[in-house]
């Protein structure tokens, strides 16, 4: 049984990503899209919190990264880039989706 958590708000403006990390259990997936992709960048004030989420797999939506000028080499280690089809597949492969809108 696994859950896909999605976050779309900037972690520097809203607490959605923080709330999500408090609920994301081992084995769950977290997909960052729209303004939440800024949370996937290394060297930020919340990078430590992201890195310490144990057993959680992070994904980020590629088209939203590109729109915001965030190149792949800026991402934290272990984050997988997906496209829109990958978003759909994640939703299908998990038992449920929790959207932290």
């Amino acid at each position: 049984m696994s859950t896909l958590h999605t976050v779309n708000k900037s972690p520097f403006e809203k607490r959605s990503l923080d709330s999500c990390l408090g609920y994301a259990l081992e084995g769950s997936s977290v997909l960052l899209y729209e303004d939440a992709v800024y949370g996937a960048i290394k060297g930020t004030s919340l990078a430590d919190k992201m890195s310490s989420a144990a057993g959680v797999k992070f994904f980020v939506l590629g088209p939203d990264l590109k729109a915001r000028g965030v190149s792949e080499d800026k991402l934290l280690d272990g984050i997988e880039i997906v496209d829109y089809a990958g978003f759909v597949k994640l939703a299908a492969d998990n038992d449920r989706v929790q959207a932290w809108v």
Binding site: K9, E34, T44, A67
Partner: protein
Amino acid sequence: MSENIKKFMYLNRRAPYGTIYAWESLEVVLIGAAFDQDVSLAFIDDGVYQLVKGQDTAGVEMKNFSPTYQALGDYDVTKLYVEKESLEERGLSVDDLMPLTYEDEDDDWAEKDSIRLVSRAELAGIMEEQDILFSF
């Protein structure tokens, strides 16, 4: 200089694309530029993301309005204050931003940087000198 010239500052605090604020601000700045006021822009909090270089919106089917910032110099909008602390919190440096310049008519049209990196304390002081603040 007319006595009616006021100091206008546009304060940008939102990332582009996720909401309409950044684009709306740019539209108002360009409209306001026709009124010959002393205009400056400030980028703090998520607003610093507006100036990040290499934006490519083809995949999200939205208009990439980032090239418009390069036109601001032609409208005599030449003071773009970027707050250092906001950049640092987001793992960014001025090298991650678009190079934005203007030609200084009072200095033989020398090309100069529009982006002025300032500390939070410095920007607070600059805001205190303004007649009008617009928030986006």
